[in-house]
């Protein structure tokens, strides 16, 4: 693949000329890329945000170990060192029942005032909050702790996390199948557009071969044409992405502030997705053009 700088201008002109000459086919291919990338973009935005939320929750996964009320200080210390000695545990924090009540009151906001009645006679337990090194280990560790002495019960958000990951996985699989189908459609359309260009220029190509133009010299304009079709197809999706994600962030953030749901920040997320979309568009274009160049341009 020899890139001849002195002839690049010529190849670019030829490629642009072809785009104009097959205007309708060009528009069709660009539209196919546009639709594909719009879906890819939407999909990526949703998936990456869901993933982010899931891992936020996952990271928050902590095991609350309710300490038996009969445990004295000595028993409690023993339990704490036992917990800390578990291989998969990262850290153990003590939280007294008064602290727990305070947290509970806070989490209910204004309505929480009514819990203040319990300050006199707190029904809650003292707890250890245990964090595992790896989120996936949470269930195993929880089971282990359950069997220890002076442990009344353990609580963790097992089901929530499991379900969320299931949703992420299923929608990811559906999305991938859909996108692969669309990518192939777009590639097929681009390769057809370029086939038309090759056909329209078969005389020129014949003469180029005859007078000894190198194969890459002949291929370059078609290669660039495909690349342009793909890149132009990425323009609208990227614009839509930038504009709509920006307003989404502006509208949604006040509502979801403070909850475990959070959107990925506009920058650098949107720029990363834009780069991915442009890259996919360009790759679709190049691949499409290589398909017809190989098939119809026997050089």
């Amino acid at each position: 693949m020899v890139f001849m700088n002195k002839t690049l201008g010529r190849h670019l002109r030829e490629a642009v000329k072809s785009l104009g000459r097959n205007a309708w086919m060009s528009i069709a291919s660009i539209s196919a890329v546009t639709v594909t990338l719009l879906l890819v973009g939407t999909f990526l935005v949703i998936m990456m945000n869901l993933n982010n939320i899931a891992s936020n929750i996952e990271e928050d996964v902590e095991i609350t170990v309710l300490i038996d009320r009969t445990a004295d200080q000595n028993a409690q210390n023993q339990l704490e060192s036992k917990l800390k000695n578990l291989e998969k545990v990262e850290n153990v924090q003590f939280s007294s029942k008064d602290q727990e009540l305070e947290k509970l009151i806070k989490s209910f906001g204004e309505k929480g005032e009514s819990f203040k009645l319990f300050e006199q006679d707190n029904p809650l337990n003292d707890v250890f909050i245990v964090k595992t090194k790896v989120p996936e280990d949470t269930p195993v560790v929880a089971e282990e702790i359950k069997k220890m002495r002076y442990v009344e019960n353990v609580q963790y958000a097992e089901e929530t996390v499991k379900k969320l990951f299931e949703v992420v996985n299923v929608s990811r699989n559906i999305g991938i199948v859909l996108i692969i189908g669309l990518v192939f459609t777009a590639m097929f359309l681009i390769s057809n557009t370029i086939k038309i260009t090759i056909f329209a220029r078969r005389r020129e190509i014949e003469i180029m071969k005859l007078v000894g133009a190198t194969n890459w010299f002949i291929r370059w304009p078609f290669f660039l044409e495909g690349l342009f079709l793909g890149a132009l197809g990425a323009v609208i999706p990227i614009t839509v992405l930038v504009v709509s994600y920006n307003s989404l962030v502006n509208i949604a953030v006040p509502y979801i502030q403070g909850s475990f749901v959070e959107l990925l920040p506009f920058s650098p997320f949107v720029f990363q997705i834009s780069a991915i979309l442009l890259l996919i568009g360009v790759l679709i274009g190049i691949w499409g053009s290589l398909m017809s160049v190989r098939k119809f341009l026997k050089v």
Binding site: M4, E204, V211, G212, A213, N215, F217
Partner: protein, 228 residues
Amino acid sequence: MIEMKDVYKTYSNGVLAINGISIKINQGEFVYIVGPSGAGKSTFIKLMYREEKPTKGSIVINGIQLENLKEKEVPYLRRNIGVVFQDFKLLPKLTVYENVAFALEVIGENPKNIKKKVLNVLDLVQLKHKARSFPDELSGGEQQRVSIARSIVNNPPVIIADEPTGNLDPETSWEIMRLLEEINNRGTTVLMATHNKVIVNTIRKRVITIEDGKIVRDEARGEYGLYE
């Protein structure tokens, strides 16, 4: 110099087009290739500019060994050979000047040299005054002169012409022959496949007669055979 040794060519459909040809053509020769239709003239010519590969045998053109030439080296072989066709093969949307310049542009010739070379060669074929015309504004003879100009603009040592006068009236054909002779006189090897008996018998040159894929006659100052 062109040299073929025991060359065979069988097409994929089983047709045996060249059935053992050995030949030597020196630099600066003018050679007619004659024979009835379907005798293998076209295949013979296509083997030289590597449009077709020999099934067996060796071909050397200007020191380039053709039978094991890599695909990507073919363009460089073609730069040594100018090819002229019966149907001219000009690009209708380009002017005379552009058609000739095209051959230089696509092999990456320095733009500075292109203008000089194109005008020189248009001068040789006496079409400088038509440089801005389009092919369909020219007569058949003029169009063939443009295509000859295109084939020699890169100064190849060999020119191969496949029935260059096939589409032209007798008057114009002489014009083209004078031009080919002039090019030959400047040292270029000229190979010309033809059916034109009058030309072959008037402008006497070496004549190679091909029949059924074999060379049946090779005379230094030959005549057109018995074919009508």
